[in-house]
C-alpha cells in the first residue's frame, strides 16, 4: 500500500515551468491578486475548511485555532500540503510570498 503523497510528478513539472513567473512576482501580492487569493481561500480552501474558515473535513483556520503556529510554518503547509491527509500542495498556484501573505492574514483573523 502506497502512502498518499502530497506531491505529484506532473504538478512538480508544472511548478518548475511556472517558477520564473513566480520569482518575478516576489514581494507582497498586488491588490488585485490579494482579492483573488481571498476568493480562493473562501471558495476553494472553503471546500474543506468551511467558507467561514471554522473547519469542515479540514481543521478550523480561525486565529484561535492557529494560536501557537507561526505563519512561516503555515505557509509551508499551504505550499506543500500535509502527507497522509487530504491537504494538497498549493505551490502550483501560489508563490511562497503569496502563501506567507495568506498565512499572515489567517493569523490576523481575516474574514474572507
Amino acid at each position: 500500500m502506497l502512502e498518499r503523497r502530497s506531491r505529484a510528478g506532473a504538478l512538480l513539472l508544472l511548478a518548475v515551468a511556472l517558477a520564473p513567473a513566480l520569482a518575478a512576482a516576489a514581494g507582497p501580492p498586488s491588490a488585485e491578486r490579494q482579492a483573488a487569493l481571498l476568493y480562493l481561500l473562501r471558495q476553494d480552501c472553503g471546500s474543506c475548511h468551511g467558507m467561514t474558515l471554522k473547519g469542515g473535513l479540514g481543521p478550523s483556520l480561525l486565529p484561535e485555532a492557529l494560536e501557537g503556529k507561526d505563519s512561516e510554518g503555515l505557509a509551508e503547509i499551504i505550499l506543500h500540503g500535509v502527507r497522509g491527509t487530504p491537504m494538497p500542495p498549493w505551490d502550483v498556484e501560489l508563490s511562497p510570498e503569496e502563501a506567507r501573505w495568506l498565512a499572515r492574514e489567517l493569523k490576523s483573523g481575516i474574514r474572507p
Binding site: 500500500m1 498518499r4 505529484a8 471558495q43 471546500s47 467558507m51 469542515g56 473535513l57
Partner: protein, 391 residues
C-alpha cells in the same frame, strides 16, 4: 348583517382564487443552493424557470438536501449545523433548528418519518421527527485520542428505518436501526479502512460503499447480509503509481450505476473506475479531465456526466456507457460544482459557481436550453429524490 355576508362571500371567493392559483404538484420542482448567500432558489423544470428565493438558511458553504415523501418539503443540511425544512409550495421556511456546530449532510428514512444529520462537531448523528424537527435520537461517534469525537461522513438511508454512516478518523461504519427511535440499535463495523470520507448506497438499497482516503480501495457492506462484515473492493487501484493531489474530495452519494456497472472514484487519479456489480471486479478505467467529484448516471443509464475538482472545474465530461468512452467535453461555466438530472433525464442542470449561473442542457443534443441566474450556486436537488432509495 348584510355587511357580514358580503365580507363572508368576499373571503370565500378570495380563498377560492388563492387555492386555484396555488394548486399544483411538486414533481417538477427542486432547489438550488446559493452557498454564499445562505439562500435557496425554488426552480421548476417544466418551463425551466426559477420561481422564487427562500432566505435565511444560515451557512450553506457545504449543503445538501433530501425531500419529504410528498415532495412538498426540502430538508436542507447546512455547514453550521442548521437543519431547515423548506416549503416548496409556499416558498418559505417551515421550520429550522441548529442542531450541531458543524454538519456535512443527512438522510431521510424510507417511511419519511425520520431525518438524520451527520455531524462533524460534535461528531455523531442526530435524528429528528420529520414533521416537527423534534429531536428523537442522538448517536455520538467515538472519542478520539485528542478528546474530540470522530467526524461522521457518508450518512445514508439503509431501508427499514435504518441509517448507515462512517466515522472518518476512526475508520468505522455503523448501521443504526431506528425502528424504536428512543432505543437505537447500532451495529458497528470496526475496521472498514483508513479515513472513509464519503459513501453511497446503491439505488436498490443493497450495498453501502465508502470511499477511503487513506487506502487504495473502497469499503463495501452488503446490507442484505451485514453479518458478512465489510470487505474491500478495487484494492490497490493506484497500482504503485503516485497519486495526484486532490483539491476537492469526491462526493459519492449519487455516483453512477448504469445497468450492471458501477462507476467509482479513485482518490488522486484522473479516471473513473468501472466495476461489474455481480462480482465487484474492475472491468475498466476511463481517463477523464481531472479528479472527478460527482459522476451521475442519466436515469436511463446510457450516459454518465462527470464534474471535476479545482482547478479543472470549468469542464463537464459525458461518458457513453456502452463504449465506456468520453464522448463530449463541455464548458458550461466557471467552477462547476454539481449537476442534477430531471427525473427522466432529458435535461441536466449544472451549477457554475463563478459564473453565477445554473446551465440547463438537453442531454441528448447536449445543447444549452437555458441559463438561470443564481448567486454562487452549488447543490441542485430535485424532488424526484423523495422517491429514491439510499438518500
Amino acid at each position: 348583517m348584510r355587511k357580514l355576508l358580503v365580507c363572508l362571500v368576499a373571503l370565500l371567493l378570495h380563498g377560492a382564487v388563492v387555492t386555484a392559483a396555488e394548486l399544483r404538484g411538486t414533481g417538477d420542482l427542486g432547489i438550488v443552493i446559493e452557498r454564499a448567500a445562505g439562500s435557496v432558489q425554488i426552480v421548476e423544470t417544466t418551463h425551466r424557470v426559477a420561481l422564487g428565493r427562500v432566505e435565511g438558511l444560515g451557512d450553506l458553504s457545504h449543503a445538501s438536501a433530501v425531500f419529504s415523501r410528498d415532495g412538498r418539503y426540502a430538508y436542507v443540511f447546512g455547514r453550521d449545523g442548521g437543519l431547515t425544512k423548506v416549503d416548496l409550495l409556499e416558498r418559505r421556511i417551515a421550520n429550522r433548528v441548529v442542531q450541531a456546530g458543524n454538519s456535512i449532510g443527512g438522510a431521510i428514512s424510507d417511511d419519511g418519518s425520520l431525518v438524520a444529520v451527520a455531524n462533524y462537531e460534535p461528531g455523531g448523528v442526530k435524528v429528528f421527527d420529520a414533521e416537527t424537527l423534534t429531536p428523537v435520537a442522538d448517536i455520538p461517534s467515538v472519542t478520539l485520542a485528542d478528546g474530540k469525537r470522530a467526524k461522521v461522513v457518508g450518512l445514508e438511508d439503509s431501508g427499514h428505518r435504518r441509517f448507515a454512516f462512517s466515522l472518518y478518523e476512526a475508520g468505522q461504519t455503523w448501521l443504526a436501526d431506528l425502528a424504536d427511535p428512543a432505543h437505537p440499535k447500532v451495529e458497528r463495523f470496526e475496521n472498514v479502512g483508513k479515513l472513509p470520507y464519503d459513501a453511497l448506497v446503491t439505488p436498490d438499497g443493497r450495498f453501502y460503499i465508502a470511499g477511503l482516503f487513506g487506502e487504495d480501495g473502497l469499503a463495501l457492506i452488503d446490507l442484505w447480509h451485514p453479518e458478512k462484515g465489510a470487505t474491500h473492493i478495487l484494492e490497490g487501484y493506484d497500482k504503485g503509481e503516485e497519486p495526484l493531489p486532490v483539491y476537492k474530495m469526491p462526493h459519492l452519494e449519487g455516483w453512477a450505476e448504469a445497468g450492471d456497472l458501477l462507476f467509482l472514484p479513485a482518490i488522486g487519479r484522473h479516471e473513473l473506475l468501472v466495476v461489474e456489480r455481480r462480482d465487484w471486479q474492475e472491468v475498466g478505467r476511463i481517463p477523464v479531465h481531472g479528479q472527478p467529484v460527482f459522476a451521475e448516471a442519466r436515469p436511463d443509464g446510457r450516459q454518465v456526466w462527470v464534474n471535476f475538482a479545482h482547478p479543472d472545474n470549468d469542464v463537464v465530461q459525458v461518458i457513453d456507457v456502452p463504449t465506456l468512452r468520453v464522448v463530449d467535453t463541455l464548458r458550461p461555466g466557471k467552477a462547476v460544482l454539481h449537476l442534477e438530472f430531471t427525473p427522466r433525464g432529458e435535461q441536466v442542470w449544472i451549477s457554475a459557481r463563478d459564473s453565477d449561473e445554473v446551465v440547463v442542457y438537453d442531454t441528448e443534443t447536449r445543447t444549452v436550453m437555458t441559463r438561470i441566474n443564481a448567486a454562487k450556486p452549488s447543490g441542485i436537488f430535485f424532488t424526484a429524490r423523495a422517491n429514491r432509495i439510499g438518500l
